[in-house]
Each structure stands twice: as structure tokens, then as C-alpha cells.
């Protein structure tokens, strides 16, 4: 199972949990699994998130594969000026 | 509204136009004569983007009325190059990458030409104070000052 690390921001709606193991094949499945696991997540939570999969950062990459031994870190998306 | 008939010279050409009393020279240049190279950044004389010369004197065209141009000789950015030959300042601005968005550039070029006409051999500080009426938000002025100093050098034949 992939190790999923949530940013501190989401702790308020995950009952304080910041880490979870999930079996997911890609980013889209990860977001679906999180929504099921944490009903308190805001509806649009995925729109605000970037992911780092094994150290590589992705934004808006729903089909990016996640391996079973991957470490995935979720944090807020970045835009800029 | 009554419109006034005005005759003037713009970049060496005789022009005639009609304008309302409250119309600025900037408005006339842009909207009556369709010379849109002169830009409006503030309309209060603070940014210098609308700089032109009137009878050789540098002015913010947003602070002068169109009717005041009667009988005057006006130079704008459109008249700066001679045929295919860019003015030395225009060339130096390109070579030194002294412009980015370019909306302040016509005003800077008009101001810089006036500066060098009055002082062909300015120091860095004189260039900075000479151009202090023109705002540029992109470049930090570094390359503009370099370009003007380099143009002055070339124009002096040094």
C-alpha cells in the first residue's frame, strides 16, 4: 500500500490524522479514496492540492501513476504572480 | 459641444484637427490623430508615459490641452526614427535590453532625447535625475540608464 502524507492543513478535517496507507493506482483514485475515508473533507479539496509522488511534484495530474511502495505527500497547490 | 479647429505641426507634418475644449493633447494625439505610440499611464503628469516635445520642450501631453497646440510643433515617438534608421537611443534601448513591457518606452525615449539635447555628456546621476519623471515598473531602470549613457557616448562620437 502507498504511504499517503497529508499536509497539516487537512488535519482539522481528518480527525488529526496526517498519515494513511491506501491502495491506489493513480492520483484520481487517491482523491476518491481520501474522500471516502474522510467524509469531513470539503467537496473541492482535491482542486486545491498538489502531490509529491516519491519526491516528484505534480499539479493537475490525475492520471499520474502511484505504485504500491510509493510515498505520496499532499500539500496546497502553487500558482504565482 | 463646440469643437475648436487647431492647426499644428506633428513630426514635421502640418496637421489640422477638431477638438473639444477639455480634450488633452494626449487625447488628441491618440484619438483624433491616431498616433497611439504616446501612452496614458496616469493622466495626472506623474508617470511620463505620454511625454512629447512641444516646440522643443518636453511636456506631459496629458497636462496640456489640445487647443494649446495651435501653431506649435510637436514631436512624438512616431517621428523619432528617420526612415529605416532608428535613432541612436532607440537602437541602444534594443541592444541593452532596456525595455520589457515597453509601455513606458516611448516616454522614456522622448525624455532621454530631450535630456541629451540639453546635456550631451551626462553623468549617471544626471541621467537618473533627468529621467526621474518617467516611471518604469519592469526594468528597475538599470538597463535604461546604461542604454542612455551608451547612446550619449555614441552621439558625442566618443
Amino acid at each position: 500500500m502507498a504511504r499517503i502524507v497529508l499536509s497539516g492543513n487537512l488535519a482539522a478535517v481528518t480527525g488529526g490524522e496526517t498519515e494513511i496507507a491506501l491502495e491506489v493506482g493513480n492520483v484520481r483514485q487517491l482523491f476518491q479514496a481520501l474522500a471516502e475515508h474522510y467524509p469531513g473533507l470539503p467537496e473541492n479539496f482535491a482542486e486545491d492540492l498538489a502531490v509529491a509522488i516519491d519526491g516528484e511534484i505534480y499539479q493537475d495530474a490525475l492520471l499520474e501513476p502511484i505504485r504500491n511502495d510509493s510515498e505520496v505527500i499532499l500539500f496546497p497547490k502553487i500558482a504565482g504572480g | 459641444m463646440t469643437r475648436h479647429h487647431v492647426s499644428a505641426t506633428v513630426n514635421g507634418d502640418a496637421v489640422e484637427f477638431l477638438c473639444e475644449t477639455q480634450q488633452t493633447l494626449l487625447d488628441v494625439l491618440r484619438n483624433e490623430l491616431r498616433l497611439t505610440g504616446t501612452k496614458e499611464g496616469c493622466a495626472t503628469g506623474d508617470c511620463g508615459a505620454c511625454s512629447v516635445t512641444v516646440d522643443g520642450r518636453l511636456v506631459c501631453s496629458c497636462l496640456m490641452l489640445g487647443v494649446e497646440a495651435e501653431g506649435k510643433s510637436i514631436r512624438t515617438i512616431e517621428g523619432m526614427a528617420q526612415g529605416e534608421n532608428l535613432h541612436v537611443l532607440q537602437r541602444k534601448f534594443l541592444e541593452h535590453a532596456a525595455l520589457q513591457c515597453g509601455v513606458c518606452t516611448p516616454g522614456f525615449l522622448m525624455s532621454a532625447r530631450s535630456l541629451l539635447e540639453n546635456n550631451p555628456n551626462p553623468t549617471e546621476s544626471e541621467v537618473r535625475y533627468g529621467l526621474a519623471g518617467n516611471l518604469c515598473r519592469c526594468t528597475g531602470y538599470h538597463k535604461i540608464v546604461e542604454a542612455v549613457l551608451d547612446a550619449a557616448r555614441e552621439m558625442r562620437g566618443a
Binding site: 478535517v13 482542486e47 496546497p76 500558482a79 | 499611464g41 508617470c47 509601455v103 538597463k143
Partner: protein
């Protein structure tokens, strides 16, 4: 799908040189056309009526007298814009709450700031339009307002939005608040960290809102036709995003709106979002004539931008030998009238330059009765860097450690775990510290009342959706059609250079131009320093697509297998070691016969670029303080920044120098000044003073190049990092000069003089 192309070191012919920009001659001769330079036959002039109140309920709007004025062809108010649900929706990739966006474009129930649009007219002349505005009767019920961020956070503060409850707090709040959102990032145990520290410094900082200050006010021209289609010319950082926002707000299909990006007279984040564009289209729809709206400078200051003013508390602890153990920050950022300040990236950038085990950051996004903030170059980062780098300066000073050495001891490097999420990849922070330390400016002797300050900056940089097309013309020249807007940094030339490098031709054979929204697929706004990174990646993909087709075409023409053909130095030639010999064909030779050998050749890219490389900078500034007037004069300035790779070094220097001088303005002069009535008192360049040429010295720009492993040329992006450190560097330099640490900015003469006088009074007492 997402695209990353790894860094490929190689010999370069075009990249790294300094050709003249393609838009240069048009810009020095006055030919270049900006937002206000477009006109259509029969066009009307649009003007916007703006609220004079900071906070007021709009009871009614009577436009009948305005409509009756001869020459007035249309008036629009809140009734002409559809209600939008309270939900975050993606439009053009920016997730925004259209409930808020439609209200910012045109006030509905309430006017929320001085300058808030309340109605708009289109008339046959500007004079008539202005006269019509005076005839619109708005019945306001003036409400108490709040401007300051800390005031707005108090429980008894006037609330802007009765439906706004603080997000991401537990338990869910039971009453509405101006605090729209609370963010928190944690690593380690910050309290335990402080207990281990030998030295703890804690300070509170306050900054004012500043405006992006682009010289070209927002301007657009819209033409809506009876078949429901609209054309829009506008000065924008992203025409596809503007199309998306207009379509949503006006309930039109995306394909019905065509947006032509004009030359843009500066943006810096301020032209990422629509203001007058939907209004112009709505007016044109009603008037059946084209409508042009050009904002005045007063409107730009009162109703667009700015960036947040903020209150920031920073506490840091380190060991005796200068190792930072714990770091804590609370960030309170003004969002303006609607939620969504830059506090999120600010809180993620606060300590990311350093390797710290124990970190805790809490941040609040706070609505106040000011214009909704917009992005401004590294949004939010300069404010928090001012706090963090000031505290670090104080720690280094107290321990007697050189400020650059102190930072070197703690600097983030490849593999450093960030407190907000990922580990940092390959970065060049240490290299910038070393370059700054080695610069001769670091050793220039200082005189009386002079001081030197050091500070650093970090920015994430971004990738995102990008497309381009590269058409090979029949004479072998290349037309490069770009979907990312050249927001003035020289992007189109940098991208043409990349295409020339890939194809092996001269850069003057490539002519770059902007697409309109019908010519390419979606492109995100040029923001997050992504232009050269993501645009460059797209150009590489498109060029390689074209090269593949050129190889195939050459193979067909020469009647050899395609794997016998390689592309090198601008021509198709026999691959080394291949048994197939044939006469090489240049790009121009293939192009000449392309039509008769299968058709014209083009390359395309439609990508979502991933792998943006973070950028770091170290800055050194020397100042002199006039103790009689409080004037701070900047004597010399040095910036060393890691840009990954400078495609066009002169344009990169321009980004570094330009960002620094904007930062100097933020530090020394610029601020929004409000009266007790909640009205902005300085909406003009006379009283809102951006730096002029005589305010600043030359800025020595040192380009550091540690390649981004996730870009074919190693590009990181360079536009934003430069603005982050100046506020802190200047504060540190002023402290060195006069021995007083001033934690409020701008350091304008009255504020500095007051600090000097207060210090003198304290000494006497």
C-alpha cells in the same frame, strides 16, 4: 497528460546568447499595440460607476435618468449578471468562487470597498458616459467598515460576509467571521525545539498593501454580435483564463468567446483575473455595438490588485553556534473584500530556505473592506520573508556570526525535508549564498550612517497547461504560435531561441507570435515564473514533433528507411554508421518541396508541464540613513539568483533587477493610505510613490545556474524570486546603519524618523 523532459546537458549555439527581442522595434517606435490601442468602427466608450463607501448595502439602483441621456446606449448593473452559486469551480484552471467573482466584477447586495463597481454605462463618447454615471442614483445604507487586518479578526468587528464561517477549524464555528480560512503546517515539536535553543528571538511585523503598479491600466475592447459570439481584445496575462472567466460569468459557451491578447504593459500578477472584460461584453451585448473600457489610474488603484497588507509574528530559536532548531510563525493576511489572499504560498515559503527540525506555521486569510487582493510576483512571500530574515539577522548579530555564514550553516539543500510537504530536489541556494559572499560589493567599506543588509528568498515556480504550434514555412522559416502570453520579460524571444536551438537554425528564422484563443488549446496564465519553464518545454515538444516529421519526410524523399536519418545542425543527414548513404537535406530544402511530398510540416505541443524547479536568491544591500529626515538612500544592490539556466541572460538580468526595484519600493515608499472613512487617499502615482530612476542604484545581477533536472535546458523560472528579499534586506541594512530594528514597512521618512526620535527619547529616559 503531464509532461516532464529531463535535463540534457549539451553544447549550445543559440541558448545563452543575447539576440534582440522580436517585439523590440515595435516597442521603441510606438507601433506596439496595447489594450487601449484597439478600436472598432461604431464603438462605444464604457465607464464604471464605483462605490464611494467602504461598506454599504445597496438598497436600490435607479438608472432611468442615465438611460434617458442622449448618446447613452446601455447601462448594466447587478441585474445583468447571473447569480453564481457559493461553490469553488474551476474555470480556466483557476479554482475560484464565482459567487465572489461575479460580486467583485459588479456589486450585488453590498459594496465592499471604496471603488467597488456598482454600475456601468456605454455611450457614444467618454464625456457622455461620464455624465451618465452622475445620473445613476444608488441608494446606499452605509455600514461600519474595517480596514486593518487585526481589527478585522476581532470578534466584534464588522463582518463583510454574513455567510462566511472560518474554514478548516474544529469544531465548526457557530458565527460568521472575517477569517475565511485557517491554515496550519507542522513539523517536529516546536515547543521542545525552543527548550533546546540557546537563543530565541521573537518579533512582530506589519506591512501595508502595495499595488503591482503596472504602467498600463487595464483596458479592453469587446464586440458581441447578434449570433451570441463575442470578440475581446484585452491586456491579460492569460487569454484562455480570461475566456473561461468571462464565459462563466456571462453564461456563454467557451467557444463563443474569442480573446485576442494585446501587448501587455506590465502585469506582475495583477492581470491574472478579469475586471472590466465581462462588463464590456455585457454592455456590448445590450448595446449591440462594440464597447471599449479603459480604466483610469484612480480606478486601477481603487479596484484592482493590490497585494495583502499583513501582520506576521515570527519566533525562532538557535544554538550558540548558529544552528536553527525551531521556527514558528503566525501570518495574518488581508484578502481584501473576498477570501483568497496569498497567505497559503506565503506560509509554505516562510522557512523553506532552511533545514529546520521543528516548525509550526499558522495562517489566517482575512476579509477586509479593501479591493480584493490579486497575485503580485511571488505572492505573499516577501512579507513573511521580511519577518523571518529580520529575525535571522538579529540572531546572527547577537551571536557575532556573519549573516551569510549563519545562513550557510542552515541552508536547505537537495534532500532537505520541507515542513509543508515534499523534500526539496536539486536546488542552488547554497550556490547563491556563496556567490553573494564572494561578490566585491560584500566588502566595500561603509561610512557613517551607512549599513549593509543581507536577506534571501525562495519561490516554488510552476508548470501547468501549455500549448504551442510551430509551422514550417515554404522557405524554411518558422512561424511559432504561442499560447503563453509574453508578459514582457522577453518570453517570445527566449522561446524562439529554444526552437532555433532544437531545429538547428538561426533565431532570426523563427518568428514568434501570440495565438488568439481559437488557434491553440488551453494555456494557463503566465504566472508562477512558468513562461520559460513550461513554454520552453512545450516548444521542445513541438520542435521534436516537427523534427520527427522532417526526418520521415527526408527519408521518403531520399528513399531510405527513416532510422537511417538523423537530425543534426538543421538538416536531415545519414545517421553515423548507417549503410544508407544519401545527400543531406536542410530544413529549407525539405520545406521547399514539402507541399508536393505530402503537405506542409508542423510541430505541436499540448502539455501539462510538471517538474518546476524552485528558485533561490541571496541579496546584499547597502543603505545610508539621513538621521535628520529619516530618508533611506539605497547605495548599492547585489542579487545572486539561481535561475537553472538563463536562456537569454540579458532578459534574466532584467527580471532580477526589476523585481529588486519593485521590492525596494515596497520596503521604502509604497503603501495604501486609508482615511477614517475607509476611502483610499492616495490613488495616484503622485502620492503612491513607486521608485524612480534617481531613487535607486545599479543592481548588480549575478546569475547562478544550477540546472533544474526536470527541464530539457535546466530552466527553473526567474521572474518572482527577486522581489522576495528586498524588504528584509533593506530593514536589516537600516538596522545596521542606525542600530534600530524597525518592524513596520514601508520605511518611509516619517516612519524612520519617528523610530530614530523614539530611540533617542528612550535613551534619554
Amino acid at each position: 497528460m503531464s509532461t516532464t523532459i529531463k535535463y540534457e546537458p549539451r553544447e549550445l549555439k543559440v541558448v545563452g546568447t543575447r539576440p534582440i527581442r522580436h517585439d523590440g522595434v515595435d516597442k521603441v517606435t510606438g507601433r506596439a499595440r496595447y489594450g487601449a490601442d484597439f478600436d472598432l468602427p461604431g464603438q462605444l466608450i464604457g465607464k464604471v460607476l464605483r462605490s464611494p463607501h467602504a461598506h454599504a448595502r445597496i438598497r436600490s439602483i435607479d438608472v432611468s435618468a442615465a438611460l434617458a441621456l442622449p448618446g447613452v446606449k446601455a447601462v448594466v448593473t447587478r441585474d445583468d449578471f447571473a447569480e453564481m452559486p457559493e461553490e469553488y469551480a474551476a474555470a480556466g484552471e483557476i479554482v475560484v468562487n464565482f459567487y465572489d467573482v461575479t460580486r467583485n466584477v459588479m456589486a450585488r447586495e453590498k459594496a465592499l470597498y471604496d471603488g467597488h463597481a456598482v454600475a456601468a454605462v456605454a455611450a457614444t463618447s467618454e464625456a457622455i458616459a461620464k455624465q451618465a454615471l452622475k445620473l445613476i442614483k444608488v441608494d446606499y445604507e452605509v455600514l461600519p467598515h474595517v480596514i486593518d487586518v487585526l481589527e478585522a479578526m476581532k470578534p466584534d468587528a464588522p463582518v463583510l460576509h454574513e455567510h462566511q464561517y472560518t474554514q478548516l477549524v474544529t469544531p465548526k464555528p457557530d458565527k460568521p467571521s472575517n477569517v475565511a480560512k485557517r491554515l496550519e503546517f507542522k513539523r517536529g515539536d516546536v515547543e521542545a525545539g525552543f527548550r533546546q535553543a540557546d537563543l530565541v528571538v521573537e518579533r512582530e511585523f506589519n506591512t501595508k498593501p502595495v499595488h503591482q503598479g503596472y504602467i498600463e491600466p487595464q483596458a479592453c475592447l469587446a464586440s458581441y454580435s447578434e449570433d451570441g459570439q463575442a470578440d475581446l481584445w484585452t491586456s491579460t496575462q492569460g487569454h484562455f483564463v480570461f475566456r473561461a472567466q468571462c464565459a462563466k460569468l456571462l453564461q456563454m459557451e467557451v467557444s463563443k468567446i474569442r480573446v485576442m491578447p494585446t501587448e501587455i504593459g506590465g502585469g506582475f500578477g495583477g492581470k491574472n483575473t478579469v475586471y472590466c472584460e465581462p462588463v464590456a461584453i455585457a454592455l456590448s451585448r445590450k448595446a449591440h455595438r462594440p464597447v471599449k473600457i479603459v480604466m483610469t489610474r484612480d480606478e486601477v488603484f481603487r479596484a484592482t490588485g493590490p497585494t495583502s497588507g499583513a501582520n506576521v509574528r515570527v519566533k525562532m530559536g538557535c544554538t550558540r553556534d548558529g544552528r536553527i532548531i525551531a521556527a514558528e510563525a503566525v501570518l495574518n493576511y488581508q484578502a481584501g473584500a473576498f477570501a483568497g489572499s496569498s497567505v497559503s504560498p506565503a506560509s509554505m515559503s516562510a522557512f523553506t530556505r532552511y533545514d529546520v527540525d521543528h516548525v509550526h506555521v499558522v495562517a489566517h486569510d482575512v476579509t477586509v473592506n479593501r479591493p480584493k487582493v490579486a497575485a503580485y510576483r511571488a505572492p505573499g512571500a516577501p512579507i513573511v520573508a521580511f519577518g523571518v530574515e529580520s529575525v535571522i539577522d538579529e540572531m546572527a548579530k547577537k551571536l557575532g556570526i556573519d549573516p551569510i555564514d549563519f545562513r550557510l550553516k542552515n541552508a536547505a539543500r537537495e534532500g532537505t525535508q520541507s515542513y509543508y510537504g515534499p523534500k526539496l530536489g536539486s536546488i542552488g541556494f547554497i550556490e547563491t549564498l556563496q556567490a553573494a559572499k564572494a561578490h566585491p560589493n560584500y566588502r566595500v567599506p561603509l561610512g557613517p550612517n551607512q549599513g549593509r543588509g543581507v536577506a534571501t528568498g525562495f519561490w516554488f515556480n510552476a508548470g501547468n497547461e501549455t500549448s504551442c504550434a510551430l509551422n514550417i514555412n515554404e522557405d524554411g522559416t518558422v512561424s511559432l504560435v504561442l499560447g503563453v502570453v509574453d508578459v514582457a520579460g522577453g518570453l517570445r524571444t527566449a522561446l524562439a531561441m529554444i526552437v532555433a536551438e532544437e531545429l538547428g537554425i538561426d533565431v532570426d528564422k523563427v518568428r514568434p507570435s501570440h495565438s488568439d484563443t481559437t488557434e491553440l488549446g488551453f494555456n494557463f496564465v503566465t504566472a508562477g515564473s512558468r513562461g520559460t519553464f513550461a513554454g520552453g518545454m512545450a516548444c521542445v515538444v513541438a520542435a521534436r514533433d516537427a523534427i520527427e516529421k522532417l526526418r520521415q519526410r527526408a527519408a521518403k524523399i531520399r528513399e531510405v528507411p527513416v532510422d537511417a536519418v538523423e537530425w543534426k545542425d538543421g538538416r536531415a543527414q545519414p545517421i553515423q554508421g548507417s549503410a544508407h548513404r544519401f545527400a543531406p537535406m536542410t530544413l529549407a530544402e525539405i520545406a521547399k518541396v514539402a507541399g508536393k511530398t505530402g503537405g506542409t510540416i508542423a510541430g505541436h505541443a499540448e502539455i501539462n508541464a510538471q517538474g518546476a524547479g524552485p528558485g533561490f536568491a541571496t541579496q546584499i544591500v547597502d543603505v545610508e540613513v539621513d538621521r535628520e529626515t529619516g530618508l533611506v538612500k539605497v547605495l548599492r544592490y547585489t542579487i545572486a539568483q539561481d535561475v537553472g539556466k538563463a536562456i537569454h541572460p540579458a532578459y534574466v538580468e532584467g527580471q532580477l533587477q526589476g523585481g529588486v526595484v519593485q521590492g525596494i519600493g515596497w520596503a521604502l515608499n509604497e503603501e495604501y493610505v486609508y482615511g477614517k472613512d475607509g476611502r483610499l487617499q492616495n490613488p495616484g502615482f503622485l502620492d503612491y510613490r513607486v521608485p524612480v530612476a534617481s531613487d535607486v542604484p545599479f543592481v548588480d545581477a549575478v546569475i547562478v545556474e544550477v540546472p533544474n533536472p526536470n527541464h530539457p535546458y535546466g530552466v527553473r523560472g526567474c521572474g518572482e524570486v527577486s522581489i522576495i528579499a528586498p524588504m528584509a534586506a533593506i530593514a536589516n541594512a537600516v538596522e545596521s546603519a542606525i542600530g534600530i530594528r524597525i518592524c513596520e514597512q514601508p520605511l518611509s521618512p516619517p516612519r524612520v524618523l519617528a523610530a530614530i526620535e523614539e530611540a533617542a527619547a528612550t535613551r534619554k529616559a
